[in-house]
Subunit: 495 residues, 4 copies
């Protein structure tokens, strides 16, 4: 049924059970290519010179149709790739199947990329998949090497990077802590995974880490982890913070959510947004996109913020800014986009309107206190349909929780659309090229892409939208002290 | 393949193939009830007095979850009901199944309403279903009558009303014209249906028509047909034009499309609307809703209009107003909402951008010249997924046509959301009560609901949105010459 | 102090005090002509045939630059005109001066139209002016007639029409009631005016009324009075309700207010709207325009409504709908647009935030209880600048009242902009032509303009905005049952 | 008439000719204080400790009502102040008069601050005023010092800072270059000013510069000059770049323009924006605010950009992005907001629509090629009213140029509103305190305010808008690695 291996199929890491799935995925990839002009332009520009020849990329990022175009772009630039999703619900099975088969392969003779991902993984399966994507023994066998691992990571949320760092740490200590030390159910599974690894091959992660030339990281959360590692002197390899490219954070986070939040709400609930009261927790880029989308559908939007600058922006943009408890009983749709923990707690949920909808587009499922809800005496979880659950509360009311508190734009819809992801992923590819091809520019540390590459990403997306760019005259460039070709702004410019 | 049944149906025209389907539908109906406060309020207000006791309603309207709540409201007010969809693609099978089983029935012992509808009917099946819903022999048998038909019609698009009128006409003439006289493939099937009927029972439609106390009609198109019939003196029974209630035309048409157009685009294509050029043909209520939704998602919207007043409104609302041929090569997304014919022709399609998306939210599939496209030499139709087809054109480009040119908000999404439909359907129920319970007020002719009922529909939807209505003081009511309780506006007020 | 004159005015009721004023007005009229394509097109179309030759029009409508273009259009079509403003604050003195001088005249030899209006009239002066505009003795003398009055009225708010009707009534009764019978200070002045007239010429109004072929009325309020007169059988001459042309009510009321409300707020207070809480009382066309403008400037808008349909529209458009007392302490900017009385009362004002702004864009100054405020013990009125008053309240807080509660878009700004007024005034001119040139079509009663003229008004404004209108093909016109040239919609269509 | 000295009145530096002017200004200042909660909060917080005691601030910033509240805040914190405007048209005379009189003074006994500014200065007067504000001989005399100058500069656009730097440079060289070396008419006047100074006191600027502890600079343009000086090693004293505080650049530039652009257009032209085509040159913060305001009024907005990132943002926000020459004949309203030179040239102007409006909200009058227009053979300039000129072009068409190409939001309206300026000016005051009270933190160089002060500025403006700020729980602060009290974001966060 799925497009991926079973745990028992050690030597057959993946298989495609379903011909139609791969074909459907290929159709969608073909259409997505039309919407991803940045990636297609990179194939044209860099295909001849193969700057990623020799790169062995372990990718951990939602296995969607758009990611398929990313993967095939990396391959077109010379890389070998293995892939996992970074979220248990976000895989589009047809995309995974098509990538495995490859654009020129067949189901019988796949010529694509190993992918370990399916929609609806358990947490155990998730970490098993991640571990598999670090296992390049098939490639090693093919090349006659005794051992090879990946030499690049392309990460989203930092799970792959974390696994390497923890693996190295535990190998150095010679032991993995008890699961009881885990601060979450999920981390206990990580520990189990690494404990097995330590038993099987006590230097595996150390060897892997030594080969890795760098990681490019997609998200706020993953970037935050990287800066912490760097600050503590524990970062093992250089990292490019793709998230903070303008063409990522100001596009993916804002315009992507503007698209995919209402899409997910619609597919999950079919509930009219017009006339409803929506509450957006957090007014960063994600919250800004969410608020704009909801207003665009005629909802009345209330915003919560902890940062006075963002709170003032929300007010100036015409939104009411309130604390949850001030308006909890009036709200029809709850949206979280903070990257923080327990921003909606069980007490908040108990005070909500009957059948209020709770949707997280921030990052982890701990933005909403799902763990607390699961422990709530008398609460009952009823599946309405996959990724849509009615939680019947002891007070007689219910709430609808989407994607079990995880990213609903991925779990209930198909994530950000291709065009937005083309921006993010063009940054990713440029970051991989930078780290792999010019490692001398990146000692261990965390970097953002230079502004001229950020501008290049934007430039590659203009024609598709019919945008006519104005060209500076030399006298104008001189007047503001820039080159005619850019970069056009100081580094601290905020856009 | 069919989704529904009733154990009492001697000829077994339908059956429930799938237990889970009915259960899933019931979950959705329960959630929809929370979004349809108007209908639920009518159950509360009129349940005790059963104003529809004795009514036998033949309903022809998209068989969705929302329609399920409408049907069960009619039943709660005393009516007997048989139902068909008015569109071959618009049925939600789980809703149909749940209605057949009924809120208190089981799959083994259904206690609901006979429904003849499933997603993806052929045209032959469609008209067979419609004919079945006029066949009340089961109910006749149960009541011991030799013959009964429906005594009320609830119609959407006028197909049920047309069938009765044509049936009566042909019975009077004693013959049904040749199919060759049909102006469309579909009308040939209608003729076949009526020819069979004439052979089997040459006075069936005449008898049916004599019992019918009236029809309430949902849409612009159906209403247009009714006014034509009335103008020609051919209308057989009174009709209430539900479409032109303010709470229908200004809500369903505008706010419904605002919701369901982007929903359908997303489910069909996952294409980012932001930054794209969208072209909306027609700036009536449907076009206004479409344009607002697309702008709310960051698209640049261009509008076409033939009516100078609507064209000026579009300009004043900030939209470019252009003819198709002026901008045809720049447009990414085409939306039709005119109710007119061939507003996008084959020549237009041949001039479009590669992979331009064509979406109809007007009414019939002839808004776009699908017939012409089907005949185009060298054109090839490739199914990307159900209701999404790539038409490869002889010029080497492709376009994506949604729902084969039919209503894509129904075919690619789930139609208008419950809250909007609650407004429309509350009008429908009030119209059925008016026609059935006070026939003396409605000699044969076409009527709109009196304004106080239109205001009542709105009033029943305010609490759910947290709207606080201000009450006129008597001195204020006197000052503007209205009653404190309304109606508040002159009949020609435009809202 | 007064701004206008004509050397032919024997009783010298007005004079031009200021040469520069007339020149400045002429500049502005010339620019306004560029923004009033409808009126300019009528000059071109009807100038040769002079359909208003012989018409003697008494106009009572805000004496602005735009009205100057209207007046000169009436003259260009053959009419003789006398004019007053219909509001004591709304005259733009330079426009009045320029109209008196006329496009081809000079200050020394004015060749324009007698205008009796200046910014900041007293109520006594206002009614004196109105009376003067009914006095055509100068014109009578010039033509050798013993007596002539106007034979057409162009009215705004109905004051001119009311004066004739009351005059006729009192002449029939042979007496004018005591001022003590007046329900307002202003009506006492009307009675005084008519009492003087009865003494001087006891059949003057009766004679005037017999000549009048009709009135075209601009506003909701005036139209309401006309329908009341007609319903009571007291209407003396036919009336065309210009207000309910789509191109008037849906343009002037909505788009005009969208423009002039923020303009007036800015000129009066310079207060940032962004981030503020604005409360719009009434969500008719005026309220819709106000709410859109305030949202467009980043305000958070709350709406109050008594009509459940309009209330539901407000909610669906994303606005909070609340009663005044629910939120009175949170609101920074109050806007009234109801046409009703005392919608903001003294108690409301006492509960407002310090320095809350109160702005009326509805109609009379009784929308806000200015009379009650004037009587409030301990309240003090401080002029900040003309038309901006701080009312210091006994509770220690203040409010800012604009234009003394009268129409602030006229008192604090310059009223609706030329382009909007071109729509309204093109309707006015067409209505004058209809009533004067084809009186047989209009027996005594109240009419709206036929739809084809309404569409014509729109059509005349498209080119200036670069709008490309699409033309129906004959097959499309036939399909929807209209003429290719329109009208395109049924009469009850709501736009 | 004006509020300021004449060139002959060396010992009487200012006088108030008009009592009403000062009183009117005081009313407006009192209302503005209600809209400037940040400044009022600083008076409360820092009034007792007088952190600016001993500071002698030379301020060069538009002398508006808002600046009056800034000046009086600086005084309330202990500073002595002398002030000039930084733009020849931007002074509000009543504000200047009121500041001179002071909150507690009278016209006869002014107790305020010396202000050298009036609306409509010549360039010679402008630089004379600036020179006067550097002349603290009155204060020196009062304190018995032989010489004192200012020890702080508060600058907008950098003119004051430039004058000191040029003065020092020329004093070092012992000569001032010939006026023929000037690259503009204005710089020739600067040279004249400094030449006079060199003759009268050849070490004046050197002595002044040695006392100056720092400058806080308001604008993009001024900041750009500072970074250039610093890069060339020529900066004499430390500078704080107030412009790049988030609460300045993202508020003043964006929300200020959103308010004041339509305000200026309305006051200048009364032209309807709805339905018109507006072209915004530049999509930085200023352009974003302009585009939002125009769209909010129903205009169709087209944007031009040279930076591909900003161009992509404009497209994603739904705007057409085009080059001027592609659409020049369709545009009704032109707005420049680039900070660059000749972005609208004479050739562009010659291709424009008749009576197109040209409005600059960027910075200098060279954004539009006013110099080229002045030299255009056959062009004629007609004053419609002050700051509004019709340029009759040799091709028979005209354009309307606002404020002679200078900042029209200041010249045609009253600049940014108080609330926005409260954000900017709270940054200014904090910057003055930082530089004056903790000079050890700021060696010569250019700095932005630390983020915690930026957040403080925002925080001081929330209550006035009814914003409820959410407080981080300690576990949440720890989770994202910040203090509960902020700062909440990394330095490169873009908001």
């Amino acid at each position: 049924m799925t497009t991926v291996s079973s745990t028992t199929a050690t030597s057959v890491p993946y298989r495609v059970a379903n011909l139609g799935l791969a074909e459907a995925g290929r159709h969608q990839i073909r259409l997505a290519e039309n919407e991803m002009p940045g990636l297609m332009a990179l194939r044209e520009e860099f295909g001849p010179t193969q700057p990623l020849a020799g790169a062995r990329i372990m990718g951990s990022l939602h296995m969607t149709v758009q990611t398929a175009v990313l993967i095939e772009t990396l391959v077109a630039l010379g890389a070998q790739v293995r892939w996992v999703s970074c979220n248990i619900f976000s895989t589009q099975d047809e995309a995974a199947a098509a990538v495995v088969v490859g654009p020129t392969g067949t189901v019988e003779a796949p010529a694509g990329v190993p992918v370990f991902a399916w929609k609806g993984e358990t947490l155990e399966e998730y970490w098993w998949c991640t571990d598999r994507a670090f296992d390049w023994s098939t490639e090693a066998a093919a090349s006659g090497a005794s051992f090879i691992g990946p030499n690049m990571i392309l990460d989203d949320g930092g799970d792959a990077t974390m696994l390497v760092h923890k693996g190295v740490e535990f190998e150095a200590e010679g032991r993995v802590p008890d699961a009881s030390a885990a601060d979450s159910e999920e981390f206990a599974i990580v520990l189990d995974t690494l404990r097995d690894s330590l038993i099987n091959d006590p230097t595996r992660w150390t060897r892997i880490s030594q080969d890795i030339k760098g990681v490019s990281e997609e998200t706020t959360t993953g970037v935050h982890r990287l800066y912490e590692l760097a600050a503590q002197g524990e970062l093992i390899f250089p990292a490019i913070n793709v998230n903070d490219s303008v063409t990522k954070s100001k596009f993916d986070n804002k315009y992507g959510i503007r698209h995919s939040l209402p899409d997910g709400l619609n597919r999950a609930t079919d509930v009219l947004m017009g006339g409803k009261v929506a509450f957006v927790v957090g007014y960063g880029d994600v919250g800004k996109g969410a608020a704009e989308a909801l207003r665009g559908q005629g909802a009345r939007v209330i915003v919560a913020e902890v940062d006075p600058i963002c709170a003032l922006q929300a007010a100036m943009d015409g939104f009411q800014v309130a604390r949850i408890d001030s308006v909890v009983g009036e709200v029809d749709i709850w949206v979280t986009g903070t990257g923080n923990v327990n921003v909606i707690g069980v007490d908040d949920i108990l005070a909500m309107k009957h059948l209020a909808i709770i949707a997280n587009v921030g990052h982890f499922d701990n933005e909403i206190d799902m763990a607390g809800l699961a422990k709530l005496e008398g609460a009952e979880k009823v599946e309405i349909k996959p990724q849509v659950h009615e939680w019947r509360l002891p007070n007689g009311r219910s709430v609808l929780v989407l994607s079990e508190g995880r990213l609903m734009n991925l779990g209930n819809a198909t994530g950000h659309p291709s065009f937005v992801m083309s921006n993010s992923f063009t940054n990713q590819v440029l970051a991989q090229i930078e780290l792999y091809a010019t490692p001398e520019k990146y000692p261990v540390g965390v970097y953002v892409l230079p502004k001229h590459l950020d501008e290049k990403v934007a430039r590659l997306h203009l024609d598709a939208l019919g945008v006519e760019l104005t060209t500076l005259r030399p006298d104008q460039a001189a007047y503001i002290g820039v080159s005619v070709d850019g970069p056009y702004k100081v580094d601290h410019y905020r856009y």
